[in-house]
């Protein structure tokens, strides 16, 4: 059981390496990288819009550019990645990670509110809000 989980995680990790290398060398506008389908269909910027470009910039050390492309994502993504990593590690050990804070349920609603508000605000085509848009 545990061995199979380790194998799955290692396999996914190995798949992620060429994908990251492709992004690193070919740039965020490379042919094989899918743009956001939602953006293509509706023209809207969702909460994750600009993350591919931001990741590319971060890969090349341009953290300021990454932040400008997606303020929320640039802050939240590394945190979420680490926390998910911890949970994957706990899953591999077969022992759940103890809850991080007793008032975590409040955090969930805050996250939801922030993500939804960010999604709406970054689509408003007027000055202070255009700072949120991925341009």
């Amino acid at each position: 059981m545990i061995g199979r989980r380790v194998a799955l995680v290692v396999l996914l990790g190995l798949l992620a390496i060429p994908a990251a290398a492709y992004l690193y060398y070919s740039g965020p506008n490379a042919a094989l990288l899918p743009g956001c389908l939602l953006h293509r269909l509706t023209g809207l910027h969702c909460a994750g819009c600009g993350m591919t470009r931001a990741t590319y910039e971060a890969f090349h050390g341009n953290f300021g550019a990454a932040f400008r492309l997606n303020m929320l994502g640039a802050i939240l993504f590394p945190i979420v990645l680490v926390l998910c990593g911890i949970q994957v590690f706990a899953w591999l050990r077969g022992k759940p990670f103890p809850s991080l804070s007793p008032a975590k349920w409040r955090l969930g609603w805050w996250m939801l509110g922030i993500i939804l508000a960010f999604s709406v605000l970054r689509n408003i085509p007027a000055w202070p809000f255009t700072l949120f848009a991925p341009h």
Binding site: L38, G73, P98, W105
Partner: protein, 194 residues
């Protein structure tokens, strides 16, 4: 002050009771309803703990109880909750995954509105669990997991379709170019031998 509002659960004959306030629990300890070897739990505690080991509860009331009747340890009863509190049908100490971080990850990465219901269900889990609605908390946890997977899979499918279309387009363009080149070469080459 806030200690009075804390909700305690106690375990008696392998059945879980509560929530009760600290005052009520102290009364139960004083009357011998809850013995000092009985396991108690409240939100924030890592695991079920015997009454005797909790400073808040091992107050005058407990000392009295112990003086009246030194509680004999009942092995069969004491073992079960210790071995695996998670196995009990409704144990508030049980860990119910809320999938909050996973759902946020798919929302940011997969760029899908489908991640939103995942966060909604994830946000519900811990509150339901804290208020003792274990079955509801489990259901919300399962729903959060389901929507996280739906968002992830549909994101991956969209990416796969996109890459498929890109490759097909490339092949098609290649073919067209070859065809044009072929026709062009034919046009030039055909008259040449005559």
């Amino acid at each position: 002050m806030p200690a009075d509002f804390m909700q305690w659960f106690y375990s008696k004959n392998n059945a879980q009771h509560g929530p009760v306030s600290l005052e009520e629990l102290r009364n139960k300890i004083a009357t011998g309803d809850v013995e000092s070897t009985d396991l108690v739990w409240k939100e924030g505690m890592g695991d079920w703990t015997p009454v005797a080991k909790i400073a808040e509860l091992a107050s005058p009331g407990t000392a009295q109880t112990e003086a009246v009747s030194p509680p004999p340890p009942v092995p069969a009863y004491q073992q079960t909750p210790y071995q695996s509190p998670a196995r009990m049908e409704v144990s508030p100490g049980e860990s119910i995954p809320n999938y909050l971080w996973q759902s946020i990850l798919v929302t940011i990465l997969c760029c899908w509105p489908l991640g939103i219901p995942a966060i909604v269900f994830a946000a519900k889990v811990d509150k339901l669990k804290a208020s003792g609605q274990i079955a509801e908390a489990r259901a919300a946890s399962a729903a959060a997991k389901k929507w996280t997977i739906i968002a992830l899979v549909s994101g991956l499918v969209a990416i796969a379709i996109y890459i498929g279309i890109t490759v097909l387009n490339f092949v098609h363009m290649q073919n067209q170019q070859n065809q044009i080149r072929g026709e062009y070469e034919q046009r030039i080459e055909l008259p040449a031998p005559r």
